[in-house]
Symmetry: C2
Subunit: 113 residues, 2 copies
């Protein structure tokens, strides 16, 4: 019997790859980690801080995001923004997503048989 | 600069979770590994045998697929079929997929800002 852990594991796997795409699209408008987290969660893209913050650092290291400290407010915050390479990757992933979405739709409708 | 390996890694991550959903939907009609592989690839869901075959064994172990040997033809083949638990998981993942798809569409259209 498929338990909650099993279901959750598969859900997590489905979501994992989409968080990168969501970040790259969302950070066309620069923002700091917590604000990004809240806006993704509000949209239904569930991700927690322990996953998102290391991911942001990884994407920056990969050159897909750039960052800048905003010190205008009382509390300095690191703002991330999608780089040109990040834009290119976002385009590739969005195209893949569309392709997979069409494939799943066709599978569900059963017209591949 | 985002190289091909980097792009490929992110593409793989995006696809990984969707292969499970595709298998669960496709195997409502029982089939053997190689035929499944070919039909997924024909639909644009790119997965290789070294990934798919262990995945099928894992899904069977998790009770999401059942299997049966078909010995009617010259070469016996193991046919997999989505179980009742597999159907339940497919419904959960398909709902998640829809939710993420809507979120990505809204993000792309920029109406979350």
């Amino acid at each position: 019997m498929a338990g909650d852990d099993l279901t959750g594991g598969h859900q997590q796997e489905l979501r994992r790859g989409t968080v990168v795409l969501a970040c790259l699209i969302r950070l066309r408008t620069p923002d700091y980690g917590y604000a990004l987290l809240e806006s993704l969660n509000a949209l239904g893209i569930i991700v927690d801080a322990n996953t998102l913050y290391p991911l942001l650092r990884r994407l920056e290291k990969q050159g897909l995001l750039t960052s800048e400290w905003n010190t205008a407010e009382a509390r300095p915050r690191k703002f991330y923004r999608t780089s040109a390479d990040g834009e290119r990757l976002a385009a590739v992933l969005a195209a893949d997503w569309q392709l997979i979405d069409r494939a799943l739709t066709r599978l569900t409708e059963g017209d591949e048989r």
